[in-house]
């Protein structure tokens, strides 16, 4: 498969009154053509900042890409001009946001909002763009598209609005679609519909998706590969199977243990103890060490490098060092794995 996007050693800081918040501290990942890469991790781990930086949509005043590269079509987006970025945004790379209630302009008709990128990037006339918008609404499953085009966002439900946002994002058939928690704000049945729609459209439009979520259940459903973020770094990356059946990083174990499963409704959910690292003063060693029951002395002193588990699977934990003691994942993780196996067999 061809690499579409390459993020290399990305460092991003925010300058605040309290000091420099080192939100992203060396992120590397690739995105291949046609795949869905999920980025998971707890709140504040840097998922949104990473993806916003790809579109260069970070707040202008106080953010800074300190170093690193974002390679797309032979161009480094980290240093590209604003003009260049305006040509890429909405055409080659698009974005879907978390809250459909606030991501549409309340005083502009749905039609205009969908036609905007078409007129901008595809040089379509108004009537051509309008025809295309009807098709797009139809594609995302909105009935009576001709009348709907003339309506305003407040006349749509949350799920419908997210469909509209998807139509806007896919209007120019982008190569990369970034979906930042696109279903978090929706209720469960609608979530499922939106996920199905996205999977369906991905095949039709042949786009790659970066899917941000903190719901591992969703990941198993949509992703080909998973990157786990913690404290502004990717701590483990691998295919879905590798992350679910053979996770290596203790933080990934924690995430999997804290997943709710359908048949354990009233069981108390596991919560990873402790608090996220202070990114104003990042620790010297492994940022996860203070919360890691398996932490060793070296974890507090030196950051672990990415250890290779397989050609597609890497994890940044000293436990993978040849000299480290052998540690089994916690019981909860093993139990979940058994359940995944059973449920996936049931699905197929």
């Amino acid at each position: 498969m061809k690499k579409l996007l390459e993020v290399k050693d990305l460092h991003i800081s925010f300058h605040t009154f309290a000091g420099e918040v080192q939100a992203i501290r060396g992120v590397d990942f690739d995105l291949y053509e046609g795949e869905t890469l999920a980025i998971v991790g707890e709140s504040g781990s840097g998922k949104s900042v990473t993806t916003k930086s790809i579109m260069r949509l970070l707040p202008q005043g106080n953010s800074e890409i300190k170093s690193g590269e974002i390679l797309f079509n032979g161009e480094n987006l980290a240093t590209a001009s604003e003009k260049k970025m305006q040509k890429i945004r909405g055409k080659d790379i698009s974005m879907i946001f978390q809250d459909p209630m606030t991501s549409l302009n309340p005083t502009m008709t749905i039609g205009k909002q969908i036609m905007e990128p078409l007129i901008k990037h595809r040089d379509l006339s108004k009537s051509e763009a309008s025809k295309r918008a009807v098709k797009l609404l139809d594609l995302v499953g909105i009935s009576k598209p001709e009348t709907r085009l003339k309506q305003y966002p407040h006349q749509f439900s949350g799920g419908m609005r997210q469909r509209v946002v998807i139509a806007i994002a896919l209007a120019c058939a982008p190569k990369v679609l970034i979906a930042d928690e696109p279903t978090t704000a929706l209720d469960v049945t609608i979530q499922g519909q939106i996920l199905d729609l996205m999977k369906d459209l991905q095949k039709k439009i042949e786009t790659s998706i970066i899917f941000i979520t903190h719901d591992l259940g969703v990941v198993a459903n949509v992703a080909d590969r998973v990157a786990v973020m913690y404290g502004g770094k990717i701590v483990e990356v691998g295919t879905v199977d590798e992350i679910f059946y053979n996770p290596q990083h203790p933080y990934t174990w924690g995430l999997i243990s804290s997943m709710p499963s359908l048949d354990s409704q009233d069981e108390e959910l596991f919560v990873i103890p402790g608090t996220p690292p202070d990114l104003l003063h990042p620790p010297k060693g492994d940022a996860f060490a203070p919360r890691n029951p398996y932490a060793m002395k070296i974890d507090k002193e030196e950051e672990p490098p990415m250890f290779k588990v397989s050609d597609t699977h890497y994890a940044a934990t000293w436990l993978l060092h040849p000299d480290a003691p052998k540690v089994e994942p916690p019981l909860a993780v093993q139990e979940r794995q058994a359940k995944f196996r059973a449920s996936i067999k049931g699905d197929k």
Partner: protein, 309 residues
């Protein structure tokens, strides 16, 4: 929309009725009559005058007469300018006042919005600080001080524009500037705050994510949304202009309603006071109606709900 406007007009009439009644009774509770200052009048003469103007009748009857006359468009006869109907006196003076008010309102909102948009788009640059400084100045300098300053420097010292006379457009420039400062400052501050908030919203990020430039984002997506709350302060701004105009009219000797109003209060000229109050109330309610309609035009959520409510 038509139904909505009809409903608003009915409200407008009810509001005016209430204001007319309240003004009437307030005036009745004020001590003194227009003739109580005239020491030379004998008691008999005073009674004759009271009878002539209907001030000897029981208050409910006076009220009835007053209201009936209002509906007929008759606001009574002035006490100080004998035999002159209040309506005529007002009509003679509406022109200059309206001209000043409308000019100041238009200049105020346009310049104010422009300053606010610039300040928000270039937040924390010298453009922003400059606009903030102007706004604070405009808000804190009382209009009569400004009026006097303008008169002295531009009128007297430089001799560019006429001072304290009323003929033609050129004599309306200085009073308009004096009046427009407050709306400029208000609109600029308000627009800046609203626009900065709008710039932070998700749909603006989406607009950027479509490939819009900063200018396009502001013009196509942000300004319209920031205007909605600004419309709410247009009403109070108009009130500010009316009250401000009394002083400014006096300073620039503009033959407007405000100037006459001040004079009438000093002479207890009831019919003119009541007539002017009613006129201001009428103007205000009409402004509020226009603002409501503007809301409907700018904000689709109101336009559509208003129609079928």
């Amino acid at each position: 929309m038509a139904k909505y406007i009809t409903k608003r007009i009915i409200y407008l009439i009810i509001t005016l009725f209430i204001i007319a009644s309240v003004t009437f009774f307030l005036m009745k509770f004020l001590p003194g009559t227009p003739f109580s200052n005239e020491e030379r009048l004998t008691i008999e003469q005073r009674e004759i005058l009271n009878a002539k103007y209907g001030l000897d009748q029981p208050i409910p009857i006076q009220y009835m007469n007053y209201m009936v006359n209002i509906v007929k468009g008759d606001l009574g006869v002035s006490f100080q300018f004998e035999n002159q109907p209040v309506m005529d006196l007002l009509m003679n003076r509406i022109g200059p006042s309206m001209q000043l008010g409308v000019q100041a309102m238009i200049i105020g909102t346009i310049i104010g919005i422009a300053l606010g948009v610039l300040a928000a788009m270039f937040q924390n640059t010298w453009i922003d600080y400059g606009s903030t400084f102007l706004a604070i100045l405009g808000k804190s300098i009382p209009s009569f001080v400004l009026a006097a300053l303008l008169q002295y420097y531009i009128g007297v010292k430089l001799g560019w524009l006429p001072v304290a006379s009323w003929n033609g457009f050129s004599s309306s420039i200085l009073p308009t500037i004096a009046l427009a400062c407050f709306p400029i400052a208000t609109a600029a501050r308000f627009m800046r705050t609203e626009l900065i908030e709008v710039f932070g919203s998700d749909y603006i990020t989406l607009a950027k994510a479509k490939g819009n430039s900063r200018g396009e984002v502001a013009v196509k997506h942000a300004i319209r949304n920031a205007l909605i709350p600004l419309i709410t302060v247009l009403g109070p701004m108009a009130v500010g202009l009316m009250t401000g105009s009394m002083v400014v009219e006096k300073v620039f000797a503009v033959p407007g309603i405000g100037e006459q109003f001040v004079k009438s209060i000093m002479t207890n000229d009831f019919p003119i006071i009541m007539g002017t109050t009613l006129f201001f109330a009428f103007l205000l309610t009409v402004i509020i109606l226009i603002i409501d309609i503007l809301y409907g035009i700018i904000d689709p959520r109101i336009r559509l709900n208003g129609g079928d409510k």
